[in-house]
Symmetry: none
Amino acid sequence: MSSRKKDIIDTSIALFNQEGCLSTSTRHIADNMGISVGNLYYYFKNKEDILVQILQEYTHSLFESLHAFDFANNRQFLFKEFLLQIQILDAKYKFLHTEMHSIIVTFPQFKLSMRSIMNDEVNLMRKLIVHQIEHGYMVELEKNEIEHLIANARILKLSSAGYWNIIEDRPQVNSQMASLSLFYFLHPYLTQKAYDDESWHQLEANLLKEVADVKM
Amino acid sequence: MSSRKKDIIDTSIALFNQEGCLSTSTRHIADNMGISVGNLYYYFKNKEDILVQILQEYTHSLFESLHAFDFANNRQFLFKEFLLQIQILDAKYKFLHTEMHSIIVTFPQFKLSMRSIMNDEVNLMRKLIVHQIEHGYMVELEKNEIEHLIANARILKLSSAGYWNIIEDRPQVNSQMASLSLFYFLHPYLTQKAYDDESWHQLEANLLKEVADVKM
Amino acid sequence: MSSRKKDIIDTSIALFNQEGCLSTSTRHIADNMGISVGNLYYYFKNKEDILVQILQEYTHSLFESLHAFDFANNRQFLFKEFLLQIQILDAKYKFLHTEMHSIIVTFPQFKLSMRSIMNDEVNLMRKLIVHQIEHGYMVELEKNEIEHLIANARILKLSSAGYWNIIEDRPQVNSQMASLSLFYFLHPYLTQKAYDDESWHQLEANLLKEVADVKM
Amino acid sequence: MSSRKKDIIDTSIALFNQEGCLSTSTRHIADNMGISVGNLYYYFKNKEDILVQILQEYTHSLFESLHAFDFANNRQFLFKEFLLQIQILDAKYKFLHTEMHSIIVTFPQFKLSMRSIMNDEVNLMRKLIVHQIEHGYMVELEKNEIEHLIANARILKLSSAGYWNIIEDRPQVNSQMASLSLFYFLHPYLTQKAYDDESWHQLEANLLKEVADVKM
DNA sequence: AATGAATGAGTTTTCATTCAT
DNA sequence: AATGAATGAAAACTCATTCAT
């Protein structure tokens, strides 16, 4: 990908997160980069095209970072790493989640892309959960329960930040609050073996400390 | 409220749910009702005004139905009722949740109304949870845990339907799936006394049956 | 005239002066009076009709107050009285002068009414000037000079207030400044006999005192 | 400035003068030029922007032509030149004066620009008057009298044309009548030395002749 | 590759006026 | 006399997209 094209994507992501995807005009993006609108349309055939390619980038990053887990040869407690990886991505592509429904209505093509990506994510999460159950880090769950656990986990990871931002305007705290919410959500599904793993306690301690620091 | 005004609100809700709030123009609403745009603006001073009044209606319905619980004189297991009530409302005002972030960026006044309503909702949910713990239907929880439980419950009740709609296009099932998700989410926090309450099993049975029926 | 009709005219004048004639909608007038728009249109066939009737009222007041002068049997210095009378009227119907051109373009019928009234005014002023020259209060002037003196006097009396309002936002002072401007404008045309008349000095003294009072 | 932008300004001035600034819509301007409204908004961010830039152009022209006077090294009778320069400009930007008050109510930003320009103009006129008194072309005047002379001169130069246009529909004559009004207004303030200057008589003769020519 | 002028269809909003009651 | 709901035409403004250069 040409660096100009990459720049457009990065600027778009930044502006979409700040001011909303639907409220950000193509002219606004171009102005922000100091290039012409025409040039933007040289690289992308329309605004939806930018969105679709952002989505592709998101997917790519997601699976790149998660494939590293190598479930087959790994017997470890993987949740901490998993949560961390995901949190970074979701923060970067925030608007994809918070504005998803508005975007879908406006750009019909986008829905299909989104759906296929979400199915991949679900499969990956299922694999992780099954793996963690097998190795005794999570409690036994029925098939049904697993599916809804995945659904809930996915929703929470996407929407928590948005929720806390409406409750109160504290960007720094809210990001941590969102992580803590997810953390507490998983609690009941973990076994004693998971609690004994030091990485889990580390994560909790860090999150609580950060929230406390900012609140002071 | 005049019936014309009520009609405008109802039509707006329907169109906002179907085609998105931001994609639905005031002209679209008026055309759909067979009235002139000018007439619409006779009842509402602008589009945001429609939204704010929808929000008020939503709040009113929410608290009307929930105040019936009468926590002080009630020792019963209330979750089933609570979930049912909420589910109906959230289905009707779906767009308020799925498009919330896009709406907030476009209509700044709306954010303030939304925030105040959410705080009221949070307080009510806290009251319910504390009540259910006191009467032995929920497990003991620390203050921190309660706050995040509320956050997670609220997010899930708002976003579940949206999630399932992206996974698959089955409007009828998805509404039930969303309820099931919330149902499973609450599982770990309930005591044996709650499970023993027949209303809980009824709810689960109904939901599973409905999903199964449609899926066939 | 019915009192309701009179009320509409009075309210319109007040609002037109405060917020501009073109910026004041018929609904705004009706709301301000607590009556319905329909009722307003019962008394006036359209907005222009209100304007034309305001103009008639203005003319009526103007000639009512000026006919009292009785030029034929009066040998006195009349300028002071004349200026005072006119100043009161022009303050009340301010918008008629400051917005005249915009109104004329928007309401073509209005221009004709305005023209005929202005001709009447010009005739009256000519009569006054000729009278004052005859009785030695004003210097001798050629026909041409009289016509332009009238023109200038009329323009200044109409536009002075507007000028001072743009220079600085001091409503109370500006009204006096406008009168002073007119006062100084007339200076060179007055004879010693006029200066000797005490009413003239009184007027100057009053105006200067009022300006000084407010400025402190 | 791009020629398209200049065209928009020129067309706007022409239409504003002919049909009134408030009665001329942006679409009307665009149609008149054979361009799209969107294109107009490419050059100006809104209608007020057009107005403000017209005002800037007016100011620029005004001071460009008046700075040529070079008061410091000039001992001449400057009124004739001054009046001529100003007359040309005021004719071109007529609507700025005749519709000023309506415009100010509608475009609040415009008032501030207008005020600052008027203050500059007043300063320039004060300089001119003081200069002419010093060199014996005008009679001695007190500070107060000078300020009101400026006010009156400014008002008359702006509003005379409007006045005569209401009295009678003779565009060509009216422009001259307006100049004559101003001419006669200044009469009493000029010294014999000024009258002896041939340029003054020339001006009067020309104006009278032009009026007479057209009237025949 | 890049520009930036231009378009057209759309949006929200305003308002004088009408009219059934 | 009076209401107030309803209209239609117009206003200002936006924006994704195109295209000659």
